[in-house]
C-alpha cells in the first residue's frame, strides 16, 4: 500500500518554539520525511538604517540586532570600523571586551540550557538554569548598566571601566557560579530523562556538518573544530583557549558542548581578570571610515560576520550581517529528515535558533 504523507505546519507561533521559525514537516505516520523551512516573520530592516545613522551611533542599533548576543554584535561592528580606520584600541579595552563577551556567552548558553530542558519537559532544571543565569546578568548590569543590552562597546574602545576591586569580586563570584553550573551540568550529562530525549537523536555527521556550513556549538558538537575566537580577535590569543569539541553529532553532544562552554567562559574571564593591564579604555576617534572590512566574531550560537563598507562620509554605504542561525538552518533541515515527530522541538532547539538575529 502506498504510504500516506501529511504536511504538518510547525511554527512560527508554537508553544515550544522560542523563536518564530516556520517549518513544514512532511510526515509519514510519526516519522518526519522532510522539513521545509521558511523565515521572514520578524524582519526589521536594521541593516538599511546604516545609511541614515552616524556610524558612531549605529553601534546602538548593531547591538539591538539580537537581544542575547547583543554585546558581541556591537563588538563585531566596532571591530570592523576600527580596522577600516586603523584605530589602535587600548589593551585594557580589549580585555574588558573579552570579559563582557564571555559573560554574554555564559548567559546565552544558560538561557539555552533552560529552554532546552523546558522543551524536554524538565521544568525544574529549566528554572535552575535561569536562576544561575541571573547571577551573570546581575554582574552585567552592575558593570555596564544593562542586563542584556549592555551598550558598553563603542568605536575606539569601551564606555565603562571596571575597578580592580570589582574585578576581584567578579572573579570570586565566578567560582560560586561555576560550582552551581557544574551541579546543573551533572544533571544534563547523567540524568536518564535527558539522555533518553537527546542521545542518538538529530544525528549529523562531521562531513555533513562541514558541507552544510554548521557553525558554533552545532558544528563543534559534530566534531568540526571551528571557532572564530581562534582567528585571534580581542585578547583570545593571550588566553589559554581551545574550542570545546564533541564528536557524537547528536542532540546530546551539542548540549554537552554548550554546557562545557559555560565553564570554559568562566575560566576565560578569570584568566582575563588576572592578566588585565592598567591604562586607558578608549581612544578619540576622528574622521570617517573609508574602505571595507569583514569582521568575524564568535557568538554563543556560532560565527557571525559583519561586512562594513564606508566611503569617507558619516554614514556607511553598506552593512551586511551574516548571523550563525542562518547558516545553521541547512544543517537543521538535514537533522530533521528521518526523526520522530515528537523529537522535532528538541532538535530545532539544539541549533539554538535566533530568528530575530537572522532576519534583523
Amino acid at each position: 500500500m502506498a504510504s500516506r504523507r501529511t504536511v504538518v505546519p510547525f511554527g512560527p507561533q508554537h508553544p515550544v518554539l522560542p523563536e518564530p521559525i516556520h517549518l513544514d514537516l512532511v510526515i509519514e505516520d510519526e516519522k518526519v520525511i522532510e522539513a521545509i523551512p521558511s523565515i521572514g516573520y520578524v524582519h526589521r530592516g536594521l541593516e538599511k538604517l546604516v545609511e541614515t545613522k552616524d556610524y558612531k551611533n549605529y553601534v546602538y542599533i548593531a547591538e539591538r540586532i539580537c537581544g542575547i548576543c547583543s554585546f558581541i554584535h556591537s563588538l563585531g561592528y566596532c571591530q570592523g570600523i576600527e580596522n577600516i580606520m586603523d584605530i589602535e584600541v587600548p589593551e585594557r579595552a580589549h580585555y574588558l571586551r573579552t570579559i563582557w563577551s564571555e559573560y554574554s556567552r555564559m548567559h546565552s548558553h544558560l538561557l539555552w540550557m533552560g529552554l532546552f530542558a523546558d522543551a524536554m519537559g524538565f521544568e525544574n532544571l529549566f528554572m535552575n538554569c535561569w536562576r544561575v543565569r541571573e547571577q551573570v546578568l546581575d554582574v552585567m548590569e552592575e558593570t555596564t548598566g544593562g542586563r542584556v543590552i549592555q551598550g558598553s562597546c563603542k568605536v575606539g574602545g569601551v564606555r565603562k571601566d571596571i575597578s580592580a576591586a570589582k574585578l576581584k569580586e567578579i572573579s570570586a563570584g565566578l567560582d560560586k557560579t561555576k560550582a552551581e553550573v557544574e551541579e546543573i551540568n551533572h544533571v544534563f550529562f547523567d540524568d536518564s530523562t535527558v539522555i533518553h530525549r537527546t542521545r542518538g537523536i538529530g544525528y549529523l555527521s562531521k562531513d555533513d556538518a562541514y558541507k552544510f556550513g554548521a557553525v558554533g556549538p552545532t558544528g563543534r558538537g559534530c566534531g568540526v573544530a571551528i571557532d572564530a575566537r581562534e582567528t585571534g580577535y580581542a585578547v583570545y590569543p593571550e588566553l589559554d583557549f581551545k574550542p570545546v569539541v564533541e564528536t557524537a553529532g547528536d542532540c546530546y553532544s551539542r548540549c554537552m558542548v554548550r554546557a562545557k562552554e559555560v565553564i570554559q567562559s568562566a575560566d576565560l574571564i578569570q584568566q582575563a581578570i588576572e592578566k588585565i593591564p592598567d591604562g586607558d579604555i578608549e581612544v578619540k576617534v576622528k574622521g570617517n571610515p573609508d574602505g571595507e572590512y569583514f569582521s568575524r566574531v564568535e557568538q554563543p550560537r556560532g560565527e557571525c560576520i559583519h561586512y562594513l563598507k564606508g566611503n569617507g562620509k558619516r554614514f556607511l554605504v553598506r552593512e551586511r550581517v551574516r548571523t550563525p542561525t542562518l547558516t545553521n538552518i541547512p544543517p537543521l533541515v538535514k537533522m530533521l529528515a528521518g526523526c520522530e515527530m515528537a523529537d522535532v522541538p528538541v532538535i530545532v532547539l539544539t541549533i539554538d535558533p535566533c530568528i530575530g538575529c537572522a532576519e534583523r
Binding site: Y58, Y60, I61, R131, E134, I149, H186
Partner: protein
Amino acid sequence: MGKITFTMAKRILKSLASGPATLRYPHEPAKRYDASRGHIEIKIEDCIFCGLCSKNCPADAIEVSKDDRTWEIDRFRCIICNSCVEACPKDCLSTSNVYLEPVFSGPLKDKTIGTEPEPETKEE
C-alpha cells in the same frame, strides 16, 4: 542515578532553606545598581537648547525647540542608550537608575519647558 537524585535533593533542600530566588515585585522594589539605565532626566535650567542630544539620538526620541525653549522626549521611542547624555555639552542630561512604571497606553511624551533667560546675565 543515585548520584543525580542526590544532586537534585541537595538543591531542593537548599531552595527550601533559602526561600524563593525571585523578588515579590511590585511589593518589593526591583533590584537596581548605580550603573543601571532607568530613564533619562533633564535639568532644564542648565539647558541651552543646542539640539545635540536630538541629533545624536539613534531612536529619534528627542525633540528640542530653541524658539519655544522646550525639550521633549518620547519615552516609548527612547532606548535609554545614554547617547544624549554623552553628547550634552552642558551636562544637564543624566540617566537615572530608576525604571519608569509601566503604563497602559501611549504615547508617553515628557515635555519640559525651559525658563525665560535673563538678558542681563546672558550678556555678561
